[in-house]
C-alpha cells in the first residue's frame, strides 16, 4: 500500500533545489561580470584618456620626441602589412591541413599524434614562437628582421587556431552530403571543392578572423625577432616596385607594429605619451573589435546561403 505523499517534504525539496539554482545563476553572473566589467572599465579608461587625441594627424604622423606631434603611421601600416603576410601564409596552409585531417587522413596513430600536437601547439606561449622564428626565419633562412619574418611568425602562431576551426566547421557538415557526392561518382577532391569547402567557409572564416584578432595584439614574438621602435618611414608599397623582384621589396623592409609603439609610449616619462599610448590602444582594440564584428557578419551572411 502506498503511503500518501508528504506534500510538505516534496515542497521543501523543490524549494531547496530552486535555491541552489538561484545560487548558481548568481555565481555565474558574477563570474561573467568579472571579465566583462573589468574589460569595460579598462576600455572606458582608455577611451576617456585616448579618444581626444584621435585626430587625423595622429594616423598620418610618424613617432616623434614631442608627444603632441607623434603619431602611429608607421605602426598601423606595419600592423596591416604584417597581418597581410600572416593571412596569406596561415589561411591556405591551415585550411589545407584541416581538410586533410578531416577528409583524407587515415585514422591511425600517426594522425592521432599529429592531432595531439596541433592541440598542444595552440597552447604554446607566444614567446616560444618568437624564439623559434628568431633562430629559423631571421638567421637560418636569412629573412632578417623584416615584415616577412614577423608575418610568418604570427602565421605559425595562429595556424593551430585556423586548423582547429577548419576541422570543427567541416565536422558540422552532415555525412549525407559526402555520401550523396560520392554516390554520384565524385572523387574526394571534387567533394571537398564543391561541397565541403563552400559549406564550411563560414566557420573557417570565423576561425581565421579570430586567429588574426589574436595575432594583431601579439607583442612578445615580434619584439623577439627584432621589431623596431623608432621608424619614421614606410615600407615600399606592396607589389608596386619593378617586377619581378621589386614587387616584394616591402616584405624585407624594417617595421614596427601597434603594440610595440604603445609599449614604448607607456614607458616614457612625459605624461603626454601615456595619452598617446591610450589613443593607440583604443585604435588597436577597435581594430580587434572590427575584425570580430566582421567575423560575425560574414558568418551570418554565409550561413544564410547554406540550404540543407
Amino acid at each position: 500500500m502506498l503511503k500518501a505523499p508528504d506534500l510538505q517534504a516534496i515542497r521543501q525539496i523543490i524549494a531547496r533545489a530552486k535555491r541552489w539554482d538561484m545560487l548558481f545563476s548568481v555565481l555565474g553572473i558574477l563570474s561573467l561580470m568579472v571579465g566583462v566589467l573589468s574589460f569595460c572599465v579598462l576600455f572606458a579608461d582608455m577611451a576617456i584618456k585616448g579618444v581626444p587625441r584621435l585626430e587625423w594627424e595622429f594616423f598620418t604622423s610618424f613617432p616623434s620626441r614631442r608627444a603632441a606631434n607623434a603619431g602611429i603611421l608607421s605602426a598601423w601600416v606595419g600592423t596591416v602589412l604584417v597581418m597581410m603576410v600572416t593571412a596569406l601564409a596561415a589561411v591556405p596552409v591551415g585550411i589545407a591541413a584541416g581538410v586533410y585531417l578531416e577528409e583524407y587522413a587515415p585514422k591511425n596513430w600517426v594522425t592521432g599524434l599529429i592531432e595531439i600536437n596541433i592541440t598542444n601547439l595552440a597552447g604554446v606561449p607566444s614567446i616560444v614562437y618568437g624564439l623559434l622564428a628568431l633562430g629559423l626565419f631571421v638567421y637560418q633562412f636569412g629573412l632578417g628582421q623584416s615584415i616577412l619574418s614577423a608575418g610568418l611568425t604570427l602565421a605559425l602562431l595562429i595556424l593551430p587556431v585556423v586548423i582547429v576551426a577548419t576541422r570543427e566547421a567541416i565536422r558540422a557538415i552532415p555525412q549525407m552530403i559526402r555520401e550523396g557526392s560520392y554516390a554520384c561518382g565524385a572523387t574526394t577532391w571534387q567533394t571537398v571543392r564543391d561541397h565541403i569547402l563552400p559549406y564550411s567557409s563560414a566557420g573557417i572564416l570565423t576561425g581565421v578572423i579570430i586567429g588574426m584578432a589574436r595575432a594583431i595584439g601579439e607583442t612578445a614574438p615580434i619584439i623577439t625577432i627584432g621589431a623596431l621602435t623608432f621608424i619614421a618611414f614606410l615600407p615600399p608599397a606592396p607589389f608596386a616596385g619593378d617586377p619581378p623582384a621589386g614587387m616584394f621589396d616591402w616584405l624585407f623592409a624594417p617595421f614596427t607594429v601597434m603594440p610595440i609603439q604603445m609599449f614604448n609610449w607607456t614607458s616614457r616619462p612625459e605624461a603626454a605619451f601615456t595619452v598617446n599610448a591610450a589613443a593607440a590602444g583604443f585604435v588597436l582594440v577597435f581594430m580587434t573589435l572590427a575584425m570580430n564584428g566582421l567575423a560575425i557578419y560574414l558568418r551570418y551572411r554565409l550561413r544564410k546561403n547554406i540550404k540543407w
Binding site: 610618424f62 613617432p63 616623434s64 620626441r65 601600416v77 627584432g226 621589431a227 623596431l228 621602435t229 623608432f230 621608424i231 619614421a232 618611414f233 614606410l234 615600407p235 615600399p236 608599397a237 606592396p238 607589389f239 608596386a240 616596385g241 621589386g246 621589396d249 624594417p254 614604448n264 607607456t266 614607458s267 616614457r268 616619462p269 612625459e270 605624461a271 601615456t274
Partner: protein
C-alpha cells in the same frame, strides 16, 4: 570577378602607400639599437636628422637594452649601439672575435635621482654612506625601518623602489653606492618600467626610490628629489646645471653610443654621427637629459673623425670619471 575585386583593393592599397615608395631603390639605412635610457636622445636626433636630410636616409632605432644592443652590434647587424654603460669585457671579446671595431662616444649625462614622497619632511639630504646602509646586500631583511638608519627619523617602515637587475641604471647605482656593480639588497620593489617606480613612491609616504632624472622632472609635483652629498661634502639637488658643473656626484653617469668602424665608412652613418655630436646637446636637454660641455662634444667629434677605436674603460665599470678625461684616454680594444 573575385580576383578583379582583389586586384582593385591591392591597387588601392598600393596607391595609398606609394607616396613613400618613390626612392625605394636608393635606400640608405642607419640601423641603431640598444639601451632604452639612451633611446629618447637617439630618437630625437634621428627625427631631426631625417628632417634635415629630407628623408633620403632612413634611420631605425630599436630598444633591446644595452646588453641586447651590444649582442646585435658585435654580430654586425647594426651600425650604432646605444649604451647606458661602457662596453664590458665579455662584449669586447665578442666584438673582437667578429672583427668589429668601434668608436666609443659619450653623448650626454643621466642624473640618477633619489626621490621620496613629498610627505617625507625629515630627509633633507642624503650621503652615499646612508644610501649604502639602505641598499647594501647585508641590509636585506634587517634595515626595514627609517629609525634604524637614523634614530632621529620616525619609526616607520622603509619602502624601497628601484629599477630591476637588467637595467643599466641599477648597475650604475649599485656600483656608485655599494661599490660593486649589481650588488644590492633584493627585497625592494623592482620594475623595469620607471613609471611604475614613480607611482610607487607617489603613493607611499614612507617610500624612497631612484631612477633617471627625466622621470623625476616630469613628476616634480608628486615627488621630492633628495639632495645628495657629493665627495666635496656639499649637498646638491639634481638639476641640469648641477650635473654640467660636475657637482652632482657620484650619481651622474655618462651615456654612450658605440659606432662600428666599418659602418663609419658609409657616408650616411658618418653624417648621422656628426649630426648627433653637433646637435645632441640641445636635443638631450629637450628630452630632459644633461648635455656634455661644448668642448667635450668637440673632443668626441674629433675622436670620431680620427677614428679612435676601442673603449676608454677597458671593460670595467667606473664611477665618477670625468668625460673630458675619458675622451683624452688612449682607448683599448
Amino acid at each position: 570577378m573575385k580576383s578583379m575585386k582583389l586586384s582593385v583593393v591591392t591597387a588601392a592599397v598600393a596607391a595609398a602607400l606609394s607616396v613613400s615608395a618613390g626612392s625605394a631603390l636608393a635606400d640608405t639605412f642607419v640601423k641603431i639599437d640598444g639601451s632604452s635610457t639612451v633611446y629618447p636622445i637617439t630618437e630625437a636626433v634621428a627625427e631631426e636628422f631625417q628632417k634635415a636630410k629630407k628623408n633620403a636616409v632612413k634611420v631605425t632605432v630599436g630598444i633591446s637594452g644595452t646588453g641586447g644592443g651590444f649582442k646585435k652590434f658585435c654580430r654586425g647587424e647594426i651600425d650604432i649601439s646605444d649604451a647606458s654603460r661602457p662596453i664590458l669585457k665579455k662584449e669586447m671579446e665578442d666584438c673582437a672575435k667578429a672583427g668589429i671595431k668601434y668608436i666609443e662616444l659619450p653623448v650626454a649625462f643621466d642624473a640618477l635621482t633619489v626621490v621620496v614622497n613629498p610627505k617625507n619632511t625629515f630627509l633633507k639630504q642624503v650621503t652615499v654612506a646612508v644610501l649604502k646602509m639602505m641598499w647594501e646586500p647585508s641590509a636585506q631583511g634587517k634595515i626595514t625601518r627609517w629609525n634604524q638608519i637614523n634614530p632621529a627619523w620616525p619609526d616607520a617602515p622603509l619602502k624601497l623602489f628601484g629599477p630591476g637587475a637588467d637595467s643599466g641604471t641599477f648597475d650604475y647605482f649599485t656600483e656608485a653606492v655599494n661599490g660593486k656593480s649589481k650588488a644590492s639588497r633584493g627585497d625592494f620593489t623592482a620594475s623595469e618600467d620607471d613609471n611604475v617606480l614613480v607611482q610607487g613612491v607617489t603613493r607611499d609616504a614612507n617610500a624612497l626610490g631612484y631612477f633617471g632624472f627625466a622621470y623625476y622632472d616630469e613628476n616634480k609635483d608628486k615627488l621630492k628629489a633628495v639632495p645628495v652629498v657629493n665627495p666635496k661634502g656639499k649637498a646638491v639637488s639634481p638639476s641640469i646645471a648641477a650635473v654640467m658643473a660636475g657637482e652632482y656626484e657620484p650619481l651622474a653617469r655618462p651615456i654612450f653610443i658605440y659606432v662600428s668602424a666599418k659602418a663609419m665608412d658609409r657616408p650616411e652613418v658618418k653624417e648621422f654621427v656628426e649630426f648627433y655630436l653637433k646637435h645632441g646637446g640641445k636635443l638631450a636637454k629637450e628630452v630632459k637629459y644633461v648635455p656634455l660641455s661644448d668642448a667635450d662634444y668637440k673632443h668626441a667629434l674629433d675622436n670620431f673623425k680620427k677614428k679612435k677605436t676601442g673603449t676608454g674603460f677597458g671593460g670595467v665599470a667606473e664611477v665618477g670619471v670625468k668625460v673630458a678625461d675619458l675622451l683624452k684616454r688612449d682607448p683599448k680594444e
